[in-house]
């Protein structure tokens, strides 16, 4: 056998590249869902490794809630310019303006759930038959059950009881008209694997992943950015703290953690010692034990 030293990151990387190339080979109109978060940034890097010096065989698609951290939009635009790839933006604001969805009310209002409608509309408008996403099985227990090629019906719904068997490294991308497939190339990566890969590949990230000073409020025991997109009232006390974000989603549902980690090495050691899961900082998962399963059945990423 070879003397090549193939470590776990190489193995995970080679598997993800294989999956991306299967998408390219099996589908007519795939797309890569890009959120500006570290997982989708990792996917972009893997796509470069799979397809360069050729172009990506798919556009990047950003479902924009309109409630973004400015830093992630800046990052997105400069990354797209560097890559020379096509970006399609699906706007939640537009879905609201057109009356297709109704903005949530109240203190904990978030646009996170509204994204599903905009995503499904965007899929329909561009006739995407496969959407590549950065979800990982270690994030949450409904995700732990999902296939790498996950078939969704015309309404974007996931049926966990009728998943196709997925054997060896053979992915069945055959679908009926109207269906589409969500593809998760980094299913088998953990949060720590993603960070170790980012460090090894020297991938640049949006600055909000690193410790910075920010005005925050404490809501349900979690730190939320004090932003016009978070509904605040007199009870909310704004404090300035040194924080960073572990996931990047809609401002209104992404909590920060207090941290001094502003180098990637610091972050890796912080995560290695952390006792709270990454999705623990997501308000959207706190609703019930089956919160994610319900959202996925409804067409969520």
């Amino acid at each position: 056998m070879s003397k090549y030293n193939f470590d776990y990151l190489d193995e995970l990387e080679a598997e993800a590249i294989h999956i991306l190339r299967e998408v390219a080979g099996q589908f007519e109109k795939p797309a890569l869902l890009f959120s500006g978060g570290k997982d989708s940034i990792t996917l972009v890097r893997l796509a470069e490794k799979a397809f360069r010096p050729g172009k990506f065989p798919f556009p990047l698609v950003h479902i924009d809630t309109g409630h973004n951290f400015e830093e992630t939009i800046d990052y997105r635009d400069s990354m797209v310019a560097r890559l020379g790839e096509r970006l399609i933006v699906g706007s939640v604001q537009q879905s609201i303006d057109e009356g297709k969805v109704v903005e949530q009310k109240g203190k904990n209002a978030s646009r996170n759930a509204l994204q599903t409608v905009t995503l499904l509309e965007t899929i329909e408008k561009y006739q995407f038959d496969a959407c590549i996403g950065g979800a990982r099985r270690d994030e949450e227990k409904a995700r732990a059950k999902e296939r790498i090629f996950s078939v969704r019906d015309e309404f974007g719904q996931w049926d966990p009881k009728r998943q196709r068997p997925e054997l060896w490294n053979i992915y069945n991308g055959k679908i009926n008209k109207g269906e589409n497939v969500r593809v998760f190339p980094i299913s088998n990566w953990t949060e720590l694997d993603v960070w170790n890969y980012i460090r090894r590949e020297k991938i640049e990230l949006p600055s909000i992943y690193f410790a910075h000073d920010r005005d925050v409020i404490t809501r349900n025991g979690q730190l939320m950015a004090a932003s016009p997109y978070v509904n605040m009232d007199d009870e909310d006390v704004v404090e300035r703290k040194k924080v960073r974000f572990r996931t990047v989603g809609d401002i209104s549902c992404t909590a920060a953690i207090e941290s001094d980690a502003f180098l990637i090495d610091d972050i890796i050691s912080e995560i290695s010692q952390s006792k709270i899961s990454e999705r623990g900082a997501r308000m959207d998962d706190k609703v019930s034990e089956a919160a994610m399963e319900d959202r996925k059945k409804g067409g969520y990423f």
């Binding site: 056998m1 070879s2 193939f6 990387e13 590249i17 190339r21 470069e48 054997l167 060896w168 088998n188």
Partner: protein, 416 residues
């Protein structure tokens, strides 16, 4: 550090989910918020302790029924290794899900209840392990706390299993007495079974050697995608990209492209911004050839000095995975690596009763049935036998009416 993928076979009654929960719990792999979530859950053990099984039951229906329906993947690591666990359902009704979880595993943990010993289900699970060619097996005799940690009970079970293992040609079996509920011999060595001198389960999993799983050294790379930038500066660039499934390719190797039979020489191997001298099993790369050859997705590049089998007829083991029974009169699609071709089941040779391992003639093949068939494909398949190469010796069947994956096949012999 490398990755060990293992799966667990056994039913909820055997304490399978508890065993996984225990592995995660005792290796400190459960995070505070997840632990809090299970502590708040309604389900508890009889003695009021946290039910660790909840950690792996992901779907609402599974929590409601207290069973595992589909494969759940769990991840943890120690200083020595990274682990991917496929927690698979044990009930016969979910055999296809177990086969799914087992297909990518290096090792199987087969659980038995010390009070019941080897039962029909143990035979079935062991058969699947043997069928799928999983090299390493751990027979975990669980619930030792319920039999007073008795060495006699453990010995009787292992003796009986040895006969089965021999029959199924399972060469590497390790026997460990455990109590997942109490934590004996899972992560920590049990103090209640001093007669057991072997390793704890985790310690064994950390050490087991998986370096050479597929013994084939024959170089194979199914082409997934042809990279053609078609820009001014890269006008003539043609790179064939794919994942090497066995053996290794070196620059200057003579290769043959199948099914066309065209041959050429490797001029360059690329991986993104690097040029490699060699690409080995498992690596995703891009290969360039010295001469112009017509190659597209679905073709396989092989080393010219070690050609694969090439046939339109192959004898294979088939595991049927659809609620609609096999229909020998219709044409299915067969997906072998990146190749898709039409396929018929020319003959059902026999069906196996997976509870007794008896073979018998059959004219129907229903959900979860396993047996030997002859496949007839429209195009020549460049394959190796499953024993030599899992990747190049396996394929799936797709029903083109529903697009569902309906069968898993493992190539065993040439058919005449």
């Amino acid at each position: 550090m490398n990755i060990l993928k293992f799966f667990t076979a056994g039913s909820v009654d055997d304490g399978k989910s508890t065993l996984i929960g225990r592995l995660l719990y005792d290796t400190d792999s459960i995070l505070a918020d997840q632990l809090e979530a299970i502590q708040n859950a309604n389900r508890k053990n009889d003695d009021g302790t946290v039910d660790l099984a909840i950690l792996t039951d992901g779907l609402r229906a599974e929590r409601e029924q207290g069973i595992t329906i589909d494969v759940a993947y769990k991840y943890f690591q120690t200083d020595k290794r990274k682990f991917i666990i496929a927690d698979t359902p044990g009930h016969i009704q979910y055999t296809r899900n177990m086969v799914t979880g087992a297909s990518t595993a290096n090792l199987a943990i087969i659980l038995v209840d010390a009070r019941n010993g080897i039962i029909e289900q143990t035979i079935r699970h062991s058969y699947l392990v043997s069928l799928l060619g999983i090299k390493h097996v751990v027979l975990a005799v669980n619930k030792m706390d319920m039999v007073d940690y008795s060495e006699t009970v453990f010995d009787a079970i292992t003796q009986k299993y040895k006969t089965l293992a021999e029959e199924l040609k399972l060469k590497d079996v390790t026997y460990i007495p455990v109590s997942a509920l109490k934590g004996d011999n899972i992560v920590h060595q049990s103090e209640r079974m001093t007669w057991y001198t072997g390793e704890s389960l985790l310690h064994f999993l950390e050490q087991v050697d998986t370096a050479v799983e597929d013994k084939s050294e024959k170089a194979r790379m199914p082409v997934q995608w042809v990279i053609r930038p078609q820009t001014d500066e890269l006008h003539d660039y043609r790179g064939y990209s794919g994942r090497v499934v066995s053996g290794s390719f070196k620059v200057n190797d003579k290769i043959t492209v199948l099914p066309s039979g065209a041959s050429s020489t490797i001029s360059k191997i690329e991986f993104f911004d690097k040029e490699l001298e060699e690409a080995s099993s498992g690596q995703s790369v891009t290969i360039h050839l010295a001469t112009d050859v017509d190659i597209s997705r679905g073709d396989t590049i092989v080393n010219s000095s070690a050609l694969p089998q090439e046939s339109k007829l192959v004898e294979a083991d088939l595991c049927w995975m659809d609620t609609k029974a096999l229909d020998t009169s219709i044409t299915y699609l067969l997906q072998h690596n990146s190749k898709l071709t039409k396929c018929k089941i020319a003959e059902v040779v026999y069906k196996v009763d997976i509870n007794t391992l008896e073979k018998h003639a059959a004219d129907e093949f229903k959900l979860n049935d396993i047996g030997r068939v002859v496949l007839k494909t429209a195009d020549y398949l460049p394959f190796d036998f499953y024993d030599e190469s899992k990747a190049n010796g396996s394929a799936i069947l797709i029903d083109s009416r529903t697009n569902l994956t309906v069968g898993a096949t493992m190539f065993r012999a040439l058919a005449d």
